[in-house]
């Protein structure tokens, strides 16, 4: 439980960080809040020779509303997601989800960007970003580009981020003010990653579902966007048969690992239960 030797760097700007990463090559790793990376280093599952800490870069932090989007800087802490008034007003599911991440101590240090860039299917923010249609802004040696959350996750710890690229911010479209939402997470104890979790955002009009989006956490190698399941709900009154069908469709795309949280079969079924419960709560919150 003691990490190997590494050198520590703390650049003051994104440009410096990008240059440093380019120079140091594959043996360098970005350090944000450290709450995913350092546990891996302690067990020596990761042994980077260089850590490039982003905490000295001022403009990577903060939450702002820009038109019909909210922009969250990568180094914004998970705690700040909970305390932000803007987020609370426009996209309250982010705070609801953040409260279910780890525990307060970790949320004070752990960052939003680290959580989405990490690539661990157990992280809660990625499925939510897929559900909300978030867009990731990244900067690398060849300049800046944007990647949709829904295209970002390729495998466990394997993302569309190229080595040397830094995630700087995430843009999230603000859902309709009438939307209903819920993040349901089943876990063994406080501080645990999900056995299964579901993010649901819907809109309703005249008792009918007009839009739906569903994200699933920790039930596959990557977070999942359950688009087929969501499509089955649109146009329905969220009656039992439609919900059953959506739940079955969501379960069908899961491929969880069997681990100490339970066998694969259980975790698939729990994904279904979480979808069902999230839908119920989202419906009760939706106006219209």
């Amino acid at each position: 439980m003691i990490p190997g030797t590494f050198d520590y760097h703390r650049p003051a700007s994104v440009e410096d960080a990008v240059a440093l990463l380019a120079r140091l090559g594959e043996d360098a790793n970005i350090l944000a809040g450290g709450h995913s990376l350092i546990p891996l280093m302690k067990t020596r599952l990761a042994s980077p020779e260089h850590l490039v800490d982003l905490s000295g870069i001022g403009n990577l932090k903060g939450i702002s509303v820009k038109g019909d989007e909210v922009v969250i800087g990568a180094m914004t802490t998970q705690f700040e997601l909970i305390s932000s008034e803007d987020l609370g007003r426009h996209i309250p599911i982010i705070a609801e989800t953040s409260r279910l991440i780890a525990d307060p101590q970790i949320r004070y240090k752990g960052t939003f960007g680290g959580n989405v860039a990490n690539g661990d299917p157990g992280n809660d923010m990625p499925a939510l970003m897929m559900c909300l249609g978030g867009i990731y802004s990244v900067t690398g040696p060849d300049g800046s580009r944007e990647i949709a959350a829904r295209d970002f996750y390729q495998g466990a710890y394997f993302t569309a981020l190229e080595h040397g690229e830094i995630l700087t911010a995430v843009r999230i479209p603000i859902p309709s003010p009438d939307h209903g939402y819920a993040y349901e997470k089943l876990k063994r104890k406080v501080g645990d990653y999900a056995t299964a979790a579901a993010a649901v955002v819907i809109t309703m009009a005249g008792g009918k579902c007009t839009s739906a989006s569903i994200g699933l956490t920790n039930v596959s190698e990557t977070p999942l966007w359950a688009s087929d399941a969501a499509a089955l709900l649109v146009g329905t009154s969220l009656d039992k048969a439609s919900v059953d069908a959506a739940v079955a469709a969501a379960e069908a795309i899961t491929q969880p690992a069997s681990d100490m949280r339970g066998p694969a079969e259980y975790r698939t079924k729990m994904a279904g239960v979480m979808v069902r419960r999230a839908l119920e709560r989202a419906q009760s919150r939706a106006k219209g």
Binding site: V190, T195, V273
Partner: protein, 809 residues
């Protein structure tokens, strides 16, 4: 105010000032603990100190073909790398276990469990040591492994312990197979079989008390410092039994015992984990002897959970025979005990299965038989008493699940069945069918108080309604009511049946009164958080009338403390607490003589009054204990030795038998398997109560660990012998969020043989709690015909129960 009221008031005030037995004195040790000022092994920094770290086996069972330490030794900062080849010439590659087996310190030819110690790297700092462990090249040839204890004795099973394969008689008799450790039997087999043969009703169930591990916040650690000039070894360590460690170190190292100084400083929790001797202790000692500088070893969390001392892993085929109206006639139990790779159970030497024979519980069961087979598997060794007396959690789990199964079969209420079979108050001292003499108890009174307080009848009514609603599909929640009425056996113990490596399990206290009337007292036990500094002082305060605040309690330094067997199995109060009271009484007797001399009266003319001796009938003529202490050093009676001190080595005439009635109300979400404890009520009877606040704290902690064990905590192995979940990511250590609210209560039935009537309480809540939780879960599903549901009751397993019952369609 009349005179008598005044006298009473004065007496009450003086009593209160003492902060003696029965008062909620605040824990004096907490002043340092809450300020981060405790002093633990890892706080120790000695000049020139080196750090050790282990190279561990990735395999569960493998032959070691070669070990190459050259790359590690070449790393700057590495001072030495020890392997079995280095220890063997010293005769230290194996060490004796408390159970009469030997245990590898560093693996020689084979590794027998994953994470077994293979080499010990010693370096200038912890980081270099850790880096160097990766540079030791070990070549293994993997061998087939045994994970399932039921396969250990298969004819074609691989032989695990080649070192003893021809030794067909072990420490506890003949071995049936090279992977067999012992068979232990007690009770009347023939009589028991006969009762079963013609019983009206019988139940039989395999009850598994699964493998888990104690998890003190502080892991096991040591610092050894050998002074080559004086030939003396000082060993600081996380030792629940420092004197025993000193003796063991002397026996295995050949150093004379007076040249070994063992010091257990503050200990951050033990729960049985810190009773045994571990490879790390031995390697730090050898390292220091070889290198002549101090060597520190500190276990990390994964090492702790996967190596030092597991608990439980008892597979108990449990049977009860009863009349059709519910009178239990006989009990028959066979245990298959998975001891892992070495038999390193920390039991009194003559008890290879601990006090498992307390398994007849709180019931008057006239006939019983118990047999235990211990076997080797490719898992870590241990078998410690995790917050319980030796195998008592297992025993209580067996009987408390079994009575529920019997109640089910008889269609009888589980509380009623218990009440019907309780040992009656007038039957004490009670001789159990499996050989114990229960000292005292009043089970009916305790049970009635508990049932009235929890509102048992109303709960059953509510449950009946809920069950109907569930059947009608109106709720997806199941309600379970758990009961456990346990009897523990603690305070080991009488010399006739309790020893460790031949040393009788007495304990000790030495009390010295200083001239100014303050006190230092030392015991052979060692607190790991139990609050001994607070409670022993309260005993002395009440016994000799000196305020507890003027009494310092010291434990853990073998140079200064009298020899004792340490703290585990709730033995501190029953044994060292008794020694403390007896030593205090010796002092009081001498004080009385001194007071008589000072007051120029006969001893018989004096009476004790809280903190003073006074002349009978002349209340204004008295000498306080403080005055007497001064006189002891300047004006003792002629022909009397000056000074005021006493030592007592107390050998208890019997064990003590705390008991309690626990109730749990649980609601289970059938669709996720998540169980929520709605209420938990614990009534404990630990005899005389020394400090009600500390008792309550002990009950809270013990229940929390019981909750953990029953509801999810486990050390699991996959089929290749890989240990799973040995970190706090998976190992269930409940936080304040998961932990239920505890309601505590008590009755008081003093122990008749203990000087102050106290029985010990630290482990009761764990012992009683585990079956109570499990019974609640089982009770929730019982009406659906689930049969016995094995622990741990984590969500996925409970969901699986629902799945099998077809509840999810």
């Amino acid at each position: 105010m009349n005179d008598q009221t005044k006298i009473d008031q004065d007496r009450a005030e003086r009593t209160e000032k003492l902060q003696g037995m029965g008062c909620k004195r605040k824990r004096v040790e907490d002043v340092r603990f809450t300020q981060g000022k405790g002093s633990y092994v890892d706080d120790l920094k000695l000049p020139g100190m080196l750090f050790g770290d282990f190279v561990r086996s990735p395999h569960a069972h493998a032959r070691i073909k070669s070990i190459d330490t050259s790359r590690a030794k070449a790393l700057p900062g590495v001072v030495a790398v020890l392997t079995a080849a280095d220890l063997k010439p010293l005769g230290l590659h194996y060490m004796p276990t408390l159970a009469g087996d030997v245990q590898a310190v560093l693996a020689e030819e084979k590794v027998l469990f994953q994470n077994q110690e293979v080499a010990f790297v010693i370096a200038e700092d912890r980081y270099i040591a850790s880096d160097a462990t990766e540079l030791v090249d070990v070549e293994y040839e993997a061998l087939p492994c045994i994970v399932d204890p039921f396969k250990s004795m298969d004819p074609d099973a691989p032989i695990l312990r080649e070192d003893i394969k021809d030794k067909m008689v072990g420490a506890h008799g003949p071995r049936k197979h090279p992977n067999h450790i012992f068979e232990w039997q007690i009770g009347d087999k023939e009589a028991t079989d006969a009762v079963f043969a013609k019983a009206d009703v019988t139940i039989k169930e395999m009850l598994v008390d699964h493998r888990t591990h104690p998890s003190p916040l502080e892991t096991c650690q040591s610092v050894a410092s050998f002074d080559k000039v004086k030939g003396e070894l000082t060993l600081w360590g996380t030792f629940q039994a420092p004197h025993v460690i000193r003796t063991v170190v002397s026996l295995i190292s050949g150093l004379p015992e007076h040249k070994i100084h063992v010091i257990a400083p503050d200990i951050g929790g033990g729960f049985g984990n810190k009773v045994g001797a571990y490879a790390g202790y031995v390697c730090s000692v050898v390292g220091s002897i070889v290198l002549g500088v101090p060597v520190k070893w500190v276990e990390d969390r994964m090492e702790n959970l996967s190596t030092t001392s597991f608990a439980r892993d008892y597979h108990m085929t449990t049977e009860l025979a009863a009349t059709k109206d519910g009178k239990i006639q006989a009990m028959r139990v066979h245990v298959l005990a998975d001891h892992g790779a070495f038999d390193a159970c920390a039991d009194p030497s003559k008890w290879p299965a601990g006090f498992m024979n307390i398994c007849t519980g709180s019931y008057d069961i006239p006939t019983a038989h118990l047999a235990v087979d211990g076997v080797y598997t490719n898992k870590a060794s241990g078998g410690v008493a995790y917050r319980c007396s030796f195998r008592v959690t297992e025993a209580v789990f067996a009987i408390e699940r079994a009575v529920e199964l019997l109640a089910d079969k008889l269609g009888m209420d589980a509380a009623e069945l218990r009440i019907k079979n309780f040992i009656k108050a007038e039957q004490f001292p009670y001789q159990s069918a499996l050989g114990w003499e229960y000292d005292s108890g009043d089970y009916h009174t305790a049970m009635k108080k508990a049932m009235d307080t929890i509102g048992y009848k109303e709960l059953r009514e509510e449950q009946a309604k809920k069950r109907d609603a569930f059947k009608r599909g109106e709720t997806r929640e199941l309600m379970g009511i758990g009961i456990s009425f346990f009897t523990e056996i603690v305070g080991a113990g009488p010399a006739k049946n309790c020893d460790i490596l031949g040393i009788a399990m007495f304990d000790s206290a030495e009390i010295r009164i200083h001239p100014t009337g303050s006190v230092i007292a030392r015991m052979g036990t060692k607190s790991q958080g139990q609050g001994h500094e607070t409670t022993y002082a309260q005993i002395i305060a009440t016994e000799i009338g000196i305020p507890a605040d003027d009494i310092m309690i010291e434990e853990g330094n073998t140079d200064t403390a009298p020899y004792g067997l340490g703290t585990y199995g709730s033995r501190s109060t029953p044994v060292a607490g008794a020694a403390t009271a007896v030593a205090a009484r010796k002092i009081k007797a001498k004080a009385q003589m001194i007071a008589a001399h000072m007051l120029e009266v006969h001893e018989g003319d004096l009476e004790w009054d809280v903190d003073r001796f006074r002349v009978k009938g002349l209340p204004e003529k008295f000498k306080t204990m403080k005055e007497i202490a001064w006189a002891a050093y300047n004006n003792p009676p002629p022909n009397m030795e000056p000074g005021l001190e006493a030592v007592n080595y107390y050998e208890p005439p019997n064990m003590t038998y705390p008991f309690g009635a626990y109730f749990c109300v649980m609601d289970i979400d059938v669709d996720t398997g998540v169980a929520k404890t709605r209420r938990f009520y614990a009534l404990d009877d630990c005899g005389t109560r020394i400090n009600p606040m500390i008792i309550e704290g002990q009950v809270h902690g013990g229940l929390t660990e019981a909750f953990a064990c029953a509801m999810g905590q486990e050390i699991r192995y996959d089929e290749h012998g890989n240990v799973m979940g040995a970190s706090f990511m998976d190992f269930f250590l409940p936080t304040a969020v998961e932990t239920p609210h505890w309601e505590t209560d008590h009755t008081v039935t003093p122990s008749p043989h203990h000087p102050i009537g106290a029985k010990g309480v630290g482990e009761s809540p764990h012992v009683g709690g585990v079956p109570c939780f499990s019974n609640a879960v089982n009770d929730a599903y019982a009406f659906l015909g689930a049969g016995h549901i094995q622990m741990p009751h984590d969500a996925w397993r409970l969901w699986t129960v629902g799945q099998k019952l077809g509840l999810h369609n």
